[in-house]
C-alpha cells in the first residue's frame, strides 16, 4: 500500500488538521468530534444542514460545508459511518432554532447511526431533526431482499440544491419535501476499473483482471452488478446511461447531468466520458439543463466514474445556480 499518511489510525484526524490549516478562514473544526462546521454556524432562523459519512470520499462531505450547502459534516473513519456522538455534536452546533435536516446516504451503518443520533439529540436538546436518506444507485435492486439502493451522486446535488433553499430561508418541512423530490428524481450508476485501498486494510479491496471492470460499483468498493469486459468509453457510457434510463424516465423535464470521477480517473477521461454521455442523452430526447464534471464524490484511489441524472424543474435549476461557497464547489460569490 502506497499512501502519503503517517499512521493508518490517525489518517482522518491528521487530514482534518491539514484541512483546518488550509481552510480556517472559512471553516471551524471540532477535532474531538471530527466535525467540520461553517465558521458562522449556527445561523439564527436558518435550518441547519448536517451530513456526514465515512471518510475517503473527499471533497464529500467536509468540502461541501459553507454558504449555500452544508452547515456541518461529520467525518467517520475511512469508509465507516461516523458515530452518533459526532452527529449529535454537529446537530447541536448548527441548530439556529429552525430545526436541522440530516442528509444521510443509504447504508445500513449510516442510517442506524444517524437514527440513534436523531433520537438522542431530540431527547437531550429538544432540537427538531428530520432526515432524508438518499438512495439513487440503480446498480442495487431496491427490494425486500437487500438493504435498498445505496446513496451516491444524488447526495452531492441534493446538498447543493437543498443548501441553497435553506439559505433562502425555507423551513424544515419545505426542505424535507424538496429533498424528497430531489432524491426521488435522481438516479446514478458507477463503474470501477481498479480497486481502492483502505489504509487500515493495507491492500486493495478487490482485484480485477487487466481487461475487466466492475459495473455498478459502490463508493466503498462494494461489488456491483457484474464483472464485465472493459469496453470503449462509448460502450461504457452506454451501459451506465442505459441502466439509469431503464430505472426512471428522464424525458419529462430537463436534467442535471453529473459525471463524477471516483479518484484516480483523470479529468481528461471524465470530460471524454461526459461527451459520450451527453450524446447518448441527446439521442434519447433528454435535455441537459446543467452539468457538473469532476471528482466530487470519490472512493479513495479508485479508477472509475459514476453518472448521475437528476430531473430538474425550474425551482431546482434556480437553486442549482444560486451562489455557493465551499472548498469543493463554488460559484456566484
Amino acid at each position: 500500500m502506497k499512501k502519503l499518511i503517517n499512521d493508518v489510525d490517525t489518517v482522518v484526524a491528521d487530514a482534518l488538521r491539514g484541512m483546518e490549516a488550509a481552510l480556517s478562514d472559512r471553516l471551524r473544526f471540532d477535532h474531538e468530534n471530527k466535525v467540520i462546521l461553517r465558521k458562522d454556524a449556527p445561523k439564527q432562523g436558518k435550518v441547519g444542514l448536517v451530513s456526514g459519512g465515512g471518510s475517503g470520499h473527499e471533497p464529500m462531505h467536509g468540502g461541501f460545508v459553507g454558504l449555500g450547502m452544508l452547515d456541518a459534516a461529520c467525518a467517520g473513519e475511512v469508509f465507516t459511518s461516523p458515530v452518533p456522538d459526532q452527529m449529535m455534536a454537529a446537530t447541536a452546533a448548527v441548530d439556529g432554532g429552525a430545526g436541522v435536516l440530516h442528509i444521510v446516504k443509504n447504508y445500513t451503518g449510516d442510517v442506524m447511526n444517524f437514527d440513534m443520533a436523531a433520537e438522542m439529540v431530540a431527547e437531550a436538546e429538544g432540537v427538531r431533526v428530520e432526515s432524508i436518506v438518499t438512495n439513487d444507485d440503480v446498480a442495487v435492486q431496491d427490494s425486500l431482499y437487500t438493504a435498498g439502493r445505496r446513496g451516491v451522486g444524488v447526495t452531492v446535488l441534493l446538498e447543493k440544491i437543498v443548501g441553497a433553499a435553506a439559505e433562502q430561508g425555507r423551513d424544515l418541512d419545505a426542505l424535507l419535501e424538496l429533498a424528497k423530490k430531489v432524491n426521488g428524481g435522481g438516479r446514478s450508476m458507477g463503474v470501477a476499473l481498479t480497486s481502492c485501498t483502505v489504509p487500515s486494510a493495507g491492500e486493495p479491496t478487490f482485484s480485477l483482471e487487466e481487461d475487466e471492470m466492475e459495473l455498478g460499483i459502490g463508493i466503498h468498493g462494494e461489488p456491483g452488478r457484474e464483472r464485465v469486459k472493459l469496453g470503449s468509453a462509448r460502450e461504457v457510457a452506454g451501459m451506465l446511461v442505459e441502466a439509469i434510463l431503464a430505472d426512471l424516465d428522464f424525458t419529462g423535464s430537463p436534467v442535471i447531468a453529473f459525471v463524477n470521477g471516483l479518484g484516480a480517473t483523470p479529468l481528461l477521461e471524465q470530460y471524454l466520458m461526459y461527451g459520450e454521455i451527453a450524446r447518448i442523452l441527446e439521442g434519447n430526447g433528454i435535455t441537459i439543463a446543467r452539468n457538473l464534471v469532476g471528482s466530487y464524490m470519490t472512493s479513495l484511489d479508485m479508477a472509475g466514474l459514476s453518472v448521475t441524472l437528476l430531473q430538474a424543474d425550474d425551482d431546482i435549476v434556480k437553486l442549482w445556480d444560486a451562489p455557493v461557497n465551499t472548498p469543493g464547489l463554488r460559484w456566484g460569490c
Binding site: S81, V83, M112, N113, A147
Partner: protein
Amino acid sequence: MSTLDAQLMANWMADLHGVIDVNAKMLTDLDRQIGDADHGSNMARGMKAVAALDAGNFDSAAAYLKKVGMTLVSTVGGAAGPLYGTFLLRFASALPADGELTANQFAVALSAGIDGVKARGKAEEGDKTLVDTLEPALRAFEEAASGGSDLADSLSAAASAAAEGRDATIPLIARKGRASYLGDRSRDHQDPGATSMAMVIESAARTLS
C-alpha cells in the same frame, strides 16, 4: 458461581478484547470479500476503547455494560457500532442490580439484547448477519438452562450453537447490510458480523462462570 458485578463483566470484555485484536485482520478479510474491509478494524477500535474503561468506577455489572454499549456506539461506527452498542445496552438493562449471575438471568439479558439488535437492524435469522449467531445461541442456552444446566454449561451450549450459526451463514445469500448488494455473489462467504458475534458468546462462556 459468579458474582454479578462490574469486574465479572470487565473480565468478559478483557478476554473479548484480546480475541478481537488477534482476529481483527481475519474479520477485515471476511469483510473485504462481501463488504468494505473494515469490520476487524471497527471492532478493534471499539474494544480498545472498552478496555480503557476502569471497572472500579462502576457500581454494578449493568452500569459497566451500559457504558460499554455507549462506548461501542461512540467508537465503532458503521453498522456494527449501533448493533453491538444496542445489544449491550439492552443486555445491561435487563440485568438485575446484584447477587449471583444465574443462567436464567443471563437468558433474559441475552434475549433482550437480541430484541434490541433486531429492532435496530430489522434483520431476521437467515439474513446472513450477526443475528444468525445470536438466535441459535439463545435457543441452545435456553434449552440447556431449562433442562437444568447451570450457567457454565448453558454458556458452553450457547457457544457451540453460536459457532454453528456463524458457519451456517456461509451458504446464505445476504439480505441485510452491505453484503446484500452482492445478491447471489454473497453466497459461499462467512459473514463477518456473525463471526465476531460468535467470539462474543465464546468469550462469555470462557469468562462468566
